[in-house]
Point group: C2
Chain length 207, copies 2
């Protein structure tokens, strides 16, 4: 029996990827073993459900058997477990500004995944264009906002930058026709550099 922590994992989940990038960036990768899970909202994993009733990944089982979720809670936990510069500022207005940017990146993910379910999982005759348009509106507005915040993202590769990089990576992975770089040149330039970080390269989903 291992006493290490277990991360319930999928290589294509952008929420898992945020955690993986933070593990890389903070030198904690060897402290966590990965346990692959395959699931959708209509095909849950009984094994995962017993650990996280919400049936979502990532979930992190600690050595004592207790389980932490969701990705934000796990990021917060892991960021308290290393001795380097915190990737979530501990206080001051920087904390809430960086967390707000991270929240906006999560909103991009939430919207993109709802679009994915609508256009891939749901039976064709039950898809609703207005729903997809509404979610895509959230993505487009968030991208505009990140374009204006590109210099801020560049200030530190922290929770805001990790979340934004994982959101942009997910858009490229699942919505390659979105062509977001055309309207967001500063964000695209930032992401080109961010994508070269070992933590981001090592966690990219296979095309």
């Amino acid at each position: 029996m291992s006493t290490r922590q277990t991360l319930f994992f999928s290589a294509t989940s952008p929420y898992v990827r945020k955690v993986m990038v933070l593990l890389h960036e903070t030198g904690q990768l060897d402290l966590v073993q990965l346990h692959g899970i395959t699931l959708t909202p209509i095909n849950p994993s009984a094994e995962l459900n017993s650990l996280n009733p919400a049936g979502k990944i990532p979930a992190l089982q600690l050595a004592d058997g207790s389980v932490l979720h969701d990705s934000r809670v796990i990021l917060d936990y892991l960021d308290h477990q290393h001795g380097g510069t915190p990737l979530i500022p501990r206080d001051g207005m920087a904390r809430w500004r960086r967390l707000t940017l991270a929240s906006l990146a999560d909103a991009v993910l939430d919207a993109a995944i709802l679009v994915r379910y609508e256009t891939f999982l749901r039976p064709e005759d039950k898809r609703w264009d207005d729903w997809v348009l509404g979610q895509c509106g959230k993505i487009e507005r968030a991208l505009e906002s990140f374009e204006q915040a590109a210099d801020e993202l560049d200030e530190a590769f922290d929770v805001a930058a990790i979340s934004a990089a994982c959101a942009l990576g997910y858009l490229d992975f699942r919505m390659p026709d979105l062509n977001w770089r055309r309207d967001c040149p500063k964000l695209a330039a930032w992401y080109t550099v961010a994508s070269q970080r070992p933590s981001v390269k090592a966690t990219a989903p296979a095309p």
Copy 2:
């Protein structure tokens, strides 16, 4: 021009309610003015979108004009702005356990709101039973888990308890036929007491 903070608000949003309960509990209600917003994912508010590109409430505009979102970030911010006992433990395993319980309550809300959109907003011929079943499974498993954690919820009226109370209140508000009390007697007893707190009573959505 007011220099107070403005909370973008709806009396029926359970995410807003979490913030309102914390404002009550921490004596900060007078420091925030409320600004009502009406929206759905397919009928966004242009005013709100200009402040939170994700088009979601709550959003908190600070006196300097900057905007914080989403509800978790706002709760974290407001919990740092009062002198009482923190409602989000600052560190130690209690922090991540209470945040995990809060995350589970948010997962109940996320699922219940997706069910609401599916059964209320979406055109009838485009509704998908498997989707509703999948989301209801998350809610049922989470309720079982909260039933087992009822004693823990009772330890403090903090972020975990606030989030759980708002989730249960939303189930009663929008899914009154769920009859969750039948299978969750300890949770029901906890909620009966919690519902009598002034902060919870004052923020209950009108039936």
